[in-house]
Symmetry: C2
DNA sequence: CCGTATCCGTCTGGATACTG
DNA sequence: CAGTATCCAGACGGATACGG
């Protein structure tokens, strides 16, 4: 489980609280769109429509939904400019940036094991 | 996008192939159950039923499904012992172990930003 | 013990239309 | 431009049963 990384600075109930939260956040964040959005945000500030273009194949609905979720968990900051037409900027918070590092590593991994994956797939599919 | 990590040792078509594969693998792997299974496997060898217990809440079906997927992508090795009753062992491959490191980091992250996330959530939910 | 197949409700997620 | 609401097809995922 996700809790075997916990160090022992909490008491019993805190531990259980941390546990269930960790599990919740993990379920929230460990999904395709969320991670792709985080990756797309990078170090910059992005507008809604920019993100929509950069995260290929994402629908309007999924984008708002995931952005709300990321905002709720404190990974993304949303700033609304009261102009006409409205302009909304999204930026990664410090926590978001930290998580992005791990997403970067996942991307690295994908490319490092590119060949391995490809051959393993065709070997598997050959049955 | 996931491709901005590519270094230039491929030609045009290879690049596009690597791109779409990366995207595919990313979609496969970036899901709750897959990551929890990888985390549960750890450095050891696990049997089907052991995994079923360790990954809390996973159903029989989801476990087999994800294990097949991980096997196909070369993250998990499956060895069948021809005994009665049958015994099947699952182990992370080198690629799997490498990916597990990033999952570990994600878990670390969850705990490091525990407080931040919690306060951000209650702040958000207060509206 | 491990795996596959089937059934069937639930939820996801896309398309569309409408507000500020 | 950004966001919300509604509708609905199709995928997901759990329960169950059966086979090796």
């Amino acid at each position: 489980m996700v809790t075997n990384q916990l160090n022992g600075t909490f008491d019993e109930t805190d531990l259980r609280r941390a546990d269930s939260l960790a599990r919740e956040v993990f379920s929230d964040v460990a999904n395709k769109w969320a991670l792709l959005i985080i990756e797309a945000l990078g170090d910059d500030t992005r507008r809604f429509t920019e993100l929509r273009q950069e995260v290929e194949g994402i629908s309007h609905k999924m984008l708002t939904q995931n952005l709300r979720m990321l905002e709720r968990n404190g990974l993304v900051e949303r700033t609304v400019h009261p102009t006409v037409p409205p302009r909304v900027d999204y930026t990664l918070t410090e926590a978001g940036l930290a998580l992005r590092k791990t997403v970067d590593w996942m991307c690295d991994w994908t490319h490092r094991y590119f060949t391995h994956i490809e051959t393993s797939r065709s070997r598997f599919d050959a049955r």
